[in-house]
């Protein structure tokens, strides 16, 4: 049984990691190697870390990473706090207008966001936040999807846990923080990952909001590697790997929380 499981795992692995291996291999290839041939080789013949050093020489990578981290931290923080609050209220508290609020969040999922970028920019500019990192983070600090994920997670908890806490005289914030929140850690981790990736990978929005090159986030700054007269695919690949690493670290750090919710949340299973 275990063998079958590993066999299946390996099969999916082959399908999914292709782009990662490709990027990694291109970023390690030396100047003498073909990177654009009909039959690309996955193994660099002249492996080198030179491309990474060159990226750091060409653009202020650390500064851009810092900027991206600020935007990502604001986005993750905003989503964790506000989506938890709203999700909890809709799932666990009874109040008039609850279904209307839920419907509003649901319909926000399908609101047409394709043509709103300029109007959002005008809003951010009117708040005085053009060309600031806060301005970049602001619209993404609450996503309807995350509210719904939290709602879904809180709703799945058994009713009894609240009743016991109410008998003990716990207030709503106490119930939320001490009883329910630990039980939905897995979903919190998912929300954190979604928010982080959305903030980290976004290109067009930060490009529109930011004007000064020293404020750029990493995805925007990496675009300098493809200049008007020159683009070295090896450097671009090294840049994408640099952008990829923080996400991979975050993901592998958070994935263990996916399962701890029930075991540690005090819910008898």
């Amino acid at each position: 049984m275990k063998t079958l499981r590993y066999f299946l795992l390996a099969f999916v692995l082959i399908i999914t990691v292709g782009p990662f291996v490709w990027q990694l291999s291109t970023s390690l290839k030396g100047a003498g190697e073909d990177i654009y041939t009909q039959t690309p080789s996955f193994i660099p013949h002249q492996p080198t870390l030179n491309n990474y050093a060159k990226v750091a020489d060409a653009i202020p990578v650390w500064r851009y990473i810092g900027n991206s981290l600020v935007v990502a931290a604001l986005t993750v923080g905003g989503n964790i706090v506000f989506a938890t609050m709203a999700g909890y209220a809709i799932a666990r508290l009874k109040f008039r207008g609850r279904s209307v609020v839920l419907g509003l969040f649901l319909s926000t999922l399908v609101l047409p966001g394709e043509v709103t970028i300029v109007s959002q920019y005008v809003t951010v500019r009117d708040f005085g936040l053009a060309d600031t990192l806060l301005g970049v983070a602001l619209p993404g600090m609450v996503a309807a999807l995350n509210v719904l994920l939290m709602y879904n997670a809180f709703r799945a908890l058994p009713q009894e846990i609240d009743e016991a806490a109410i008998v003990d005289g716990a207030t709503v914030p106490q119930r939320l923080l001490r009883v329910s929140l630990p039980a939905v850690r897995g979903t919190l981790a998912v929300v954190a990952i979604f928010a982080f990736i959305q903030a980290w990978d976004d290109f067009l929005w930060p490009l529109i909001v930011l004007t000064s090159p020293e404020q750029y986030t990493l995805t925007v700054g990496l675009q300098y590697l493809s200049g008007t007269f020159t683009q070295d695919q090896r450097l671009i690949a090294a840049g994408t790997m640099i952008a990829f690493i923080p996400i991979a670290i975050l993901f592998s750090a958070l994935q263990r929380y996916f399962f701890k919710g029930v075991e540690e949340g005090g819910v008898k299973g």
Binding site: D34, T37, Q223, G227
Partner: protein, 417 residues
């Protein structure tokens, strides 16, 4: 209820603030002073030193001025400029290609720089003409650097397939002939690497717009015959199927991959092919563009909303003066738009290196180079035409019908402008 009220208040507040933007305080407009912003397109970090040197020269000449460089990344430039233009935040001096400058000029967002200044004394005519647009009076940018296309050929594939790389095709018709010869010897190779676009119709002498510029008229039998020729070539396998999806840079990508034996590219092209695919080193020969070479112009425009219009104008002239342009042309294979630069022997000299040969060829070509994509044909129209031509080349629709459809839709777009 309370919620709805709050929403209404927010909405109202937002709509009020949205209208109140756009500052109109004009400072001392004739004096060259103050700090302006300069927006370039994907030139840093490679040319940061050069740009800083140009800026330093300017601020030394005009004390009390400052120039803040805002270089924008290559991707998303049109979105960026669009957002700046629609929210009144255009930088004072902006690097804009003519097709970006046209709509901004029509919206009166750019300064007519020809006022009180005979530009054609300083800049080559083709450069100045690129920033003159039908329907608006004046010139809306100083021409900056020029470029053209050359043809690059894969020597190894030529000799392997019975062709002579010393006499590559010089016209589109020769291209068809040699493509057939290559196919006969090497069934798996391709010589041709692009489908026709509007520039091919211009090259063939087909009229694109009516005299009043209000309609497209290139859906002629002659144009259809040209597309038919490509369709037949495609059916015989002279072009790889991926050309149906590829864009302007598509052929150079195919060339770098070694999938095709021909590509067009600027005078800087060679270095890119060899860097991405070192096995092409020494395997690429370069020749003049087929038929009529294209002329590409980059320019520098001045925002009409600038607080220091005199400074902005002075800087735009400064960065495009012969001295600064020549220096730029020495750094990278592009060509100055200033008339006096013709006397700089560097550009026309073939120093024996492949890059030197490309530079000399391209510089020679510029004399005959013409703008092959009329500015009326904007990016959206080009895409539309590309889709229809792909349909015809694939053989899914008769060429004439595809062209008729394209022209009908393009006229619709033109009438809306």
């Amino acid at each position: 209820m309370r919620i709805r009220l709050a929403a209404a208040v927010t909405a109202l507040a937002l709509s009020l603030t949205a209208c109140g933007s756009g500052s109109s305080d004009s400072a001392d407009s004739d004096k060259i002073t103050g700090t302006i912003t300069l927006q370039t397109w994907a030139l840093t970090p490679k040319f940061t030193d050069y740009l800083n040197e140009v800026i330093a020269g300017f601020t030394a000449k005009y004390p009390g001025t400052g120039v803040k460089l805002l270089d924008q990344p290559g991707d998303g430039y049109s979105e960026k400029v669009l957002a700046q233009a629609s929210s009144n935040t255009l930088p004072d001096v902006i690097n804009l290609p003519p097709d970006f400058a046209l709509p901004l000029a029509k919206q009166k967002l750019l300064v007519d720089v020809s006022k009180g200044d005979d530009l054609s004394k300083t800049y080559v005519q083709g450069g100045v003409d690129a920033y003159k647009f039908t329907g608006v009076d004046g010139v809306y940018g100083y021409p900056w650097y020029l470029n053209t296309d050359l043809d690059y050929w894969n020597v190894k594939q030529f000799s392997d397939c019975g062709l002579d790389a010393n006499t590559p095709p010089a016209t589109t018709q020769e291209l068809f002939t040699q493509a057939a010869a290559m196919k006969a010897k090497c069934p798996d190779n391709f010589l041709m690497s692009r489908k026709p676009d509007v520039s091919d119709f211009v090259r063939a002498g087909i009229k694109i717009t009516s005299d009043d510029g209000k309609q497209f008229v290139f859906n002629t039998d002659q144009a259809a015959a040209l597309v038919d020729q490509y369709r037949d070539a495609y059916a015989k396998g002279y072009l790889p199927p991926s050309v149906l999806n590829s864009d302007y840079q598509g052929n150079s990508k195919l060339f770098t991959q070694g999938k095709v034996a021909w590509t067009t590219g600027g005078a800087t092209g060679l270095a890119d092919f060899e860097r991405d695919n070192p096995s092409l080193k020494g395997q690429v020969t370069v020749s003049k563009a087929l038929d009529t070479p294209p002329l590409y112009v980059q320019g520098v425009s001045v925002s009409a909303k600038s607080k220091y219009p005199a400074t902005a104008k002075a800087f735009a002239q400064w960065i495009t003066n012969a001295d600064n342009q020549n220096k730029f042309g020495h750094l990278v294979n592009v060509f100055p738009s200033t008339i006096s630069s013709a006397s700089d022997s560097y550009f026309g000299s073939d120093d024996g290196t492949p890059a030197g040969k490309a530079r000399a060829l391209a510089f020679g070509e510029l004399k005959d180079a013409k703008n092959l994509i009329p500015y009326e044909v904007n990016a959206d129209m080009q895409k539309l035409l590309d889709q229809q031509i792909a349909l015809a080349v694939k053989g899914d629709e008769p060429s004439r019908k595809a062209l008729d459809d394209a022209v009908a839709k393009m006229n619709q777009m033109l009438s809306r402008q």
